[in-house]
């Protein structure tokens, strides 16, 4: 298993090392003693500015993937250690028609699978905005305490929950939980959401028009993200962008909601259909 870390070139190198012995050892020694050679220095890499704001917010995915390419390369095991084939079993959310394809890792499912490429434009720094490498705590006395979760790297509340929150039937004015009442609505989210909707998908990490188009073809597409089962027991805390024809007053349950996404998530004006149609 450990060799899965290494591309084959490295494996060859390793074999060469065994054969070449001392010359290779000396080469290694020379490598190790080269000053300031960051590529071999875990410490320097860990504290590279790219791991912190503001650099991480400007980083391109390619910059991250220089070191972290396993995020996209690593695949699930063919079989679990006990011999369960990866393709033999699917979670409920994987049974929806839009969730097609092989078993995939979390990162690949969000970044490079066909559905991900079609509907989303997630970047590394959509979720990863820097963390404290010393520990999993958000900051020290010297760097000021940031808000954020104790969890390493990503705060699920400000990222995952935006899409994977709970469908709150009361809030939605449904007669019961969606799985129980969906037949009455033709099993289609769009039976309501064709007209009742915000512009919540209009953020730069989603392809709003593609989502609209996909949902029009197959209403189950919504479940691909919003789930046959909610991941979290909180409903979505996404900002309630006003939309054309929306009421000026917010419902009570949305009183504390933001009405604007974080600036970094706002779509570039040129692709904003609303603003293009304005004149």
């Amino acid at each position: 298993m450990p060799f899965r870390f290494f591309p084959s070139r490295l494996r060859q190198l390793f074999r060469a090392a065994l054969l070449l012995g001392l010359p290779f050892a000396l080469w290694q020694l020379w490598q190790a003693n080269r000053e300031g050679d960051g590529s071999h220095d875990l410490w320097r890499a860990t504290y590279d500015p790219i791991h912190f704001a503001p650099a991480i917010l400007q980083a391109r995915d390619e910059d991250c993937l220089v070191c972290h390419r396993e995020v996209l390369l690593d695949r699930v095991r063919e079989k679990s250690p006990a011999g369960l084939p990866a393709q033999a079993r699917r979670a409920a959310y994987q049974e929806v028609s839009t969730y097609a394809g092989e078993q995939e890792t979390f990162h690949r499912r969000h970044l490079v699978t066909p559905l991900a490429r079609e509907l989303m434009d997630l970047r590394c720094n959509t979720c990863h905005v820097g963390h404290e490498p010393r520990d999993e705590a958000p900051g020290t006395s010297a760097t000021a305490i940031r808000q954020g979760s104790l969890r390493k790297q990503v705060d699920v509340e400000s990222t995952c929950l935006k899409c994977h929150g709970r469908l709150n039937p009361e809030q939605m004015g449904l007669p019961g939980p969606w799985p129980e009442v969906k037949a009455a609505f033709g099993d289609s989210c769009l039976s309501c959401h064709a007209s009742i909707r915000s512009v919540r998908h209009r953020v730069n990490y989603l392809k709003a028009e593609a989502i609209e188009a996909a949902a029009a073809k197959d209403s189950e597409i919504c479940h691909g993200c919003h789930g046959g089962r909610a991941w979290y027991r909180l409903s979505y805390p996404y900002p309630r962008h006003p939309w054309p024809g929306s009421e000026s007053s917010l419902p009570a349950w949305a009183k504390d909601r933001a009405t604007e996404s974080e600036a970094r998530f706002l779509p570039p004006p040129t692709v904003d259909r609303e603003s293009r149609q304005k004149p």
Binding site: F5, L10, S39, L42, Y47, R134, T140, S141, A142
Partner: protein, 874 residues
Amino acid sequence: MTRQEPTQAADRDEPCDPLPAQQWLARLNPARRNFLKTLAAGASLASAGSLLEFSANTGQAQAFAYEPYPKDDELTTVVTSCDHNCGSRHMLVAHKKGDVIVRLSTDDGRYQEGGKFGFESEQVPQLRACLRGRSYRTRLYSPDRLLYPMLRVGERGEGKFKRVSWDEALDYVARKMVELKRDYGPTAILDQAYAGSSYGVLHKSDQIEGLLARFLGMFGCRTNSWSVPSYQGTTFSSRTTFGTITDGNEDDAFAHSKLIIMWGWNPAYTFHGGNTFYYMRLAKQRGCKFVVVDPQYTDSAAAYDAWWIPIKPNTDAAMLAGMAHHIFANHWQDQPFIDRFCQGMDAGTTPEHLKDQENFKDYILGRYDQTPKTPEWAASICGVSAADIKKLAELYATTKPAALKASWAPGRASHGEQYNRMAAAVQAMTGNIGVLGGCAEGVGKGWHPESVAYPHDEYANLWWASIKSDRWAHCVLNYPEVKREELGLWPRADKFDGVIPNIRAIFWHGSDWFNQLTHINKQIAAIGKLDLVVCMDSTITPSGLWADVLFPIATHFERHDVALPWYKGHYYIHRPQVIPPLGEAKTDFQVFTELAYRLEQLDPGLNGFGKRYNPKAERRYFHDNAATDEAYLVDWWRDKVQKRQGVSMSWADFKKYGVYKFELPRPHVAFEAQIRDGKPFPTPSGKIEILSTTLATVRDWTKTQYGYPIPAIPKWIEPFESLNHAKARQYPFHMVTPHPRWRTHSIFHNIPWLRETYQQEITVNAADAAKKGVKTGDLVEVWNDRGRVVVPVYATERCLPGVVVLHEGAWMDLAADGSDRAGNPDFLTLDQPSPAGAFAYNTLLVDFKKTTLRHRPGWESEATSRASIFRRDK
């Protein structure tokens, strides 16, 4: 649960796994360092790291198979203990399958007479091991284990060794020893044993009462190292003031204090002394207030919610003097206590024959030097405001009982003995001695265990020269042009008095002193002049790489012994041989015994050396030690534990249960008998000697082991270097070098589990870091006249500005430019001991700047899963 009858004979249960021990080791450590190849790659230790990289991350998964998952109750349970020099000795319980330890647990109340799961009481607490002990399995099965005798083949320190047979290694050492004694006399071999690797009653490595001292003493060639790195200043103070270093309460006494002042003390890091830290939590729950006087807001300060008084390092005696002044000025001192128990606290307590001497109160009030040691005076030196000094003085003088715990760390400094003596004076003037909840520590040794099971006789501490431990390099480099006071040469009554030792060899026994003593660069210059360097250890240590001969020593899991706490705690833990020694490791007692037999063949004058050294052993002890070791332990239990300490439990029962815990009727308090019953203190006057009878009568200081004058009363003396020193203009930061939590001195530095939770880093105040343009994670080089180290920064508000903290014990990693890339502060420390012998570990000025030099965090430290990310493209 299969409880094992922990005797040597019964140490065989069903062989669950057909793999012999060697194959198990290979399986446990597929990454085991190829020692020869590694060392052949060059003198730099970094080569070890780089060569390891491919193999290292293939490593640990197989060592700790998740499946199949053996439950504890399916394994054999053996009670043993941790072993290292932290002052405690907590229980470890090995759960093994065949000869492989699968996991370790600790005391859960079951392993004592009448014990059951979860049992503990305030009188009989569980002896739970710390993180270091809990990581022990990875140390035992570490790739850095030394498994075979090795002989140096390259230059010394170059790190080239070859594996040899025990015969060859032993004969080589025996021959060299005889030559050295013949050619250079009885001071040629320097004893640098320490309590690093095998602290038990039988297999004891120790500076004071270890096996090596008796071996070299009986051989007739030994220069002793007398100053103890940890606490010589404190020892001097305790001996001078109270006449003993047993000035400590037992740990449970802390639960009865109303105020605990942690002066330079961080029990949350050191775990020093049984359950001290836990009893302090009980004190907190009972309303005790805490104060921390320390340049750092330590985890102890946080956990006990203490009032933090940040103080400039090495100025503690001044602050204590300021407190004493405030107490005297307000007449808060306990005058009846002073009058009855103290000598020289004031004019009234100064006896007639010392009337020409200064007394403490008049010194504090400035009657001699016209400088009253007021809180304002103290504030100008120590950086603590006069108001805070007064507030603390009042708090301490008016809260009863109050414990001023004057720890060792501030005493590991230039004139550190003055700090400890000043603290003892303040303890005495408030009457907080000999009462439950008070504190006279000091050294703080409490309950006294029976600590020696090996033959201990008139040879146990023979020497022909005895020097301050960190002056050996100075001696070797300047021999014979060196004065006795420079070495702190201990006086003798014979012709060897004042004779400068001609040191030609060093023995390291359970000692990593080359890495741990001060001013490593000077040691590096000196070690090249020696003819023989022997290292006995279970691990390849940084010191070992500078040796000529490496003897692989069995760990405490691999031999029979009994563990004891030497600092606080009152119990014995049986340590059976849990597994057979790995590789060709032997116990230190076996090695010394075998060497003794070989020496007597080379030197007829050593008639019967082998038998005299180990009287219970036969000649074949080197190959079969079980019965002999058992016999020593049985005698020790019968003659010492049972007879002297009144223990009725049989040896067989002790072995069955695994631990014997003494249940004291009430917490042991030092000097209770003196205060309550009027028993004299063990000082010349029988009093608490604030004014020392002994020091007052010294005429020629150069003829004492101190070499230089020491005042007869505690006084504030400017340290060699400090933030108040002119040198601070060149080197504006005062460095302190405390004990880390994730190592015991240098032991455990190579343990990946511990390395992933802590880093060797330099703690810098956030404002200082900003001034230097560095932030947490940046690499800096830290330097002064003596050396240069490379280490990452931890910037924090929890440190006094102007102070930097670098924990001792990182395994040195020399680069070609002479700098250390692991961050070992002893490349920077001063090899000038305080007159009383205190190491100046916390007396050094440095500067630092951001660097492009490479940092090499250390052996194995990159063998974590995440490291593979950065290795894939090599």
